[in-house]
Amino acid sequence: MTVEIKWPWQYNFPPFFTIQPNLETRKKQLEAWKTLILNYFKQTNQYILDLSDISNLELFNNSSISRSLNRDDVILILDFLTRSENAEAIDKNKNRWYIYWHSLREWAHIIYSWAQKTNRTNSVLTFYEIRSTPNEEFTELNEEILSKALQLLESQEKAEIILLQDTCGVKIF
């Protein structure tokens, strides 16, 4: 992954890496982390964050100012992201996280309007087909996230998930 990240100014501002005790300041700081994390995952096309890795991640370690975030701080930020539906802990120990740079609701909406625009409604689409559509935001979308988004559509009665032999398909109405 050699995408060049455009770091925001905060990334080179040492206090960015200390969770601020002043609540007003902290809110802004967390907002900035949220934007940065979501952009980072979007640009590197990643969907899952593993906390056992954070010490190797440039995102949480700025070696040029020798500052980094520790695990507890990262969890605090991810909890903040969870509140805006932009993250979700996969396991109870909060070790692995889904990062939703579009919330599930947005993903569902994007896929739904794509299907409508491209006249793919009322026919069965495999998950693979959706994921391998070129030049769409959901190209190569993480399969679990895709499944979750489609489940959301299903609950809104806009789609139906069908189990095929060895894969899943969906019918969008």
Partner: protein, 627 residues
């Protein structure tokens, strides 16, 4: 032999004479000594050896003797033994002087002239066994004599140190006695100084000014005249009130010198130093300080969250301190408590408290790392809103029906003559631009990107350039810590801004202000503008934001898009806004739409530099609203 000491022949109390023997020679271990042909007296406590007729007596205390033994006869000698060996214990470290200072032998010999004096030997054995010296300890006369220091080596040094210590202890206790006397004296001194000061007051004429000043300075250095003491007051509260006043008087000037704040312990020391006598207890002092605020004194007691107590000038509010330290922070990028302590010349603990106050006021933020705790200016809350606003100034219009609909100058409430309207508008907007630049220089960055002649280039080119401009702005924004970039436009400018809004949003723009915009270009094909625009149905569709509506406009844009028109705009413009707004509603995005009453197409922006103008207020409110 070193157990012998000089003495007199006088018997000590409780000592009794027992026996005398003659012609005795002393041996130090196996070595002969110069002490020959002397007489030896045995008493209940000692052996005393002396030369007849001499006044030099050597005595050996019997307590040193552990064992007495007749020397075995020499095999080559036929005679019987005439020597007696006395084995001795180690001598004490400190002892009166004797004939030999150090000996390597732990025994001496008494040599009798002809043969052992059996009677003497038996008597000696008896006396040593009786140990009379143990029942009554002899008062050693030699103790009274000043010791003669001739010992050297480590033992000597140790001894002299011990003596010195003893002497110091004594002199300290003497000194304390003196101090008590001094306190009494000091009281007299203060009385005296009071007398002098009243005399100075009375006889001011007689004494020169110089002398008065000199005297006064002497008096000041004597401390507080007439310190407030507990026993002069009936009630505690009265005492504390007076004490609080006194503390204020003493400390106000010094506290001013150290930038208005002083740790309580420092104040306590200073006050007690100034009083000199009648020292205050910490409890009384604290109680007095607690009264200060009630008494509305110029100095108040303050306790920080960490528990540190200080006295502080009442006039010095937190706001003033915060402002000052904030300016220091900005000058020096970051500060540690140590840095600030140096700058303000205050203790480090206070410097830290101050930085924490600044942080509390949201004017600083912290950086905690292995390099220590540093405070930075709070850039997180520095709201630099960037607002990029496009104006495209219309050309002269021609009077046809469609033309009329799309020629805003035909739809204005002020002037009949349309050309004049536009002329006016250009002047007004230029002035507005200038005003805003001057007014908001510090608060926000507003860039005015003016096309002198928009229709000389194709709309496509303009679009591309706009996108480049936005990209450029975002880069600047990143470098200058803009917290958000807003895009806005008026009329054709609104069209540009809306195009960027709809171009799949490659840019992270915070929000859009679209004023009197055209979002569907097709109606323009039939106007004279098209001579310059050169639009056909296809290209018009391609360049119309309404047909490129982005599906990815997500929740972050809720309440971040404003569509606004003037009440007196042409129906065609009003319809454009309505249709565009519909598109947002379709994707479920909340946007703001406004119609500004009494405004036409031009006034709607010309009034923007009036803070009380409703549209100005709406825009500012939107930009400042939390995301």
């Amino acid at each position: 032999m070193d157990r012998f000491e000089y003495s007199t022949s006088n018997l000590q109390p409780n000592e009794s004479y027992i026996l005398r023997s003659y012609n005795i020679k002393l041996y130090d271990g196996d070595n002969k000594t110069l002490f020959e042909n002397g007489e030896l007296i045995l008493t209940s406590h000692r052996l005393i050896w002396f030369l007849p007729g001499s006044n030099n007596y050597l005595s050996l205390y019997l307590k040193y003797i552990v064992y007495i033994e007749e020397e075995k006869p020499n095999v080559f000698m036929f005679s019987k033994s005439k020597r007696l060996n006395l084995y001795l214990i180690e001598p004490p470290k400190i002892r009166p002087p004797g004939p030999v200072s150090i000996s390597s032998f732990n025994f001496i010999k008494l040599s009798f002239k002809d043969k052992l004096d059996i009677e003497f030997v038996n008597a000696l054995n008896n006396v040593v066994q009786q140990k009379k010296w143990e029942t009554v300890e002899l008062v050693q006369k030699t103790d009274v004599k000043p010791p003669i220091k001739f010992r050297t080596g480590i033992v000597g040094i140790e001894r002299s140190l011990e003596e010195k210590q003893k002497a110091t202890n004594e002199s300290i206790s003497v000194a304390f006695q003196d101090l008590n006397k001094l306190m009494l004296m000091a009281k007299d001194m203060v009385d005296l100084s009071k007398n002098i000061s009243t005399k100075i007051k009375d006889k001011q004429g007689d004494i020169t000014d110089d002398e008065t000043i000199k005297f006064k300075s002497y008096l000041l250095s004597l401390g507080v005249e007439d310190p407030v003491t507990r026993d002069t007051f009936q009630s505690d509260s009265e005492y504390f009130t007076q004490l609080a006043n006194e503390i204020c008087r003493i400390i106000e000037k010094p506290i001013n010198e150290v930038s208005g704040i002083m740790v309580l312990t420092d104040v306590y020391c200073r006050v007690n130093r100034a009083r000199g006598l009648e020292l205050l207890s910490p409890q009384d002092f604290l109680s007095a300080c607690k009264m200060m605020e009630k008494l509305k004194l110029p100095i108040v007691l303050r306790q920080f969250d960490s528990g540190v107590k200080v006295l502080q000038l009442a006039s010095q509010s937190d706001e003033v301190i915060v402002d000052y330290i904030q300016s220091l922070l900005i000058q020096s990028t970051f500060l540690t408590a140590e840095n600030l302590a140096k700058i303000l010349d205050i203790p480090v603990i206070l410097a830290k408290e101050r930085l924490i106050i600044v942080e509390k006021f949201s004017k600083a933020c912290r950086d905690e790392s292995i390099e220590g705790l540093r405070f930075y200016p709070n850039k997180f809350l520095e709201d630099l809103y960037a607002f990029c606003f496009f104006f495209l100034l219309p050309m002269n219009s021609i009077n046809f029906e469609t033309e009329k609909q799309y020629s805003p100058s035909q739809w204005c409430s002020r002037h009949r003559r349309s050309d004049k309207v536009e002329q006016n508008h250009i002047e007004n907007v230029t002035k507005l631009s200038q005003d805003v630049k001057n007014k908001f220089q510090c608060e926000s960055n507003i860039l005015f990107y003016q096309y002198q002649n928009p229709f000389s280039v194709s709309l496509d080119t303009i679009m591309t350039e706009m996108e480049e401009l936005v990209e450029f702005l975002l880069e600047i924004g990143n470098a200058r810590n803009w917290s958000s970039l807003w895009l806005g436009g008026h009329s054709a400018g609104a069209h540009l801004a809306a195009s960027i809004l709809c171009c799949n949003l490659r840019f992270s723009i915070s929000g859009f202000i679209l004023i009197s915009g055209i979002y569907d270009l097709r109606p323009l094909i039939n106007t004279s503008f098209n001579a310059a625009l050169k639009l056909n149905d296809n290209s018009a569709k391609k360049l119309s934001p309404i047909f490129k509506f982005s599906t990815v406009l997500g929740a972050p844009f809720n309440n971040k898009i404003l569509l606004v028109m003037g009440e007196f705009e042409s129906p065609a413009f009003l319809e454009q806004q309505q249709r565009f707004a519909q598109e947002f509603i379709k994707i479920g995005l909340k946007i703001k739409t406004e119609i500004i009453s009494n405004a036409d197409h031009f006034q709607i922006v010309e009034w923007l530099n009036d803070e009380n103008y409703s549209l100005t207020k709406i825009i500012i409110e939107m930009i400042r609203a939390e995301s």
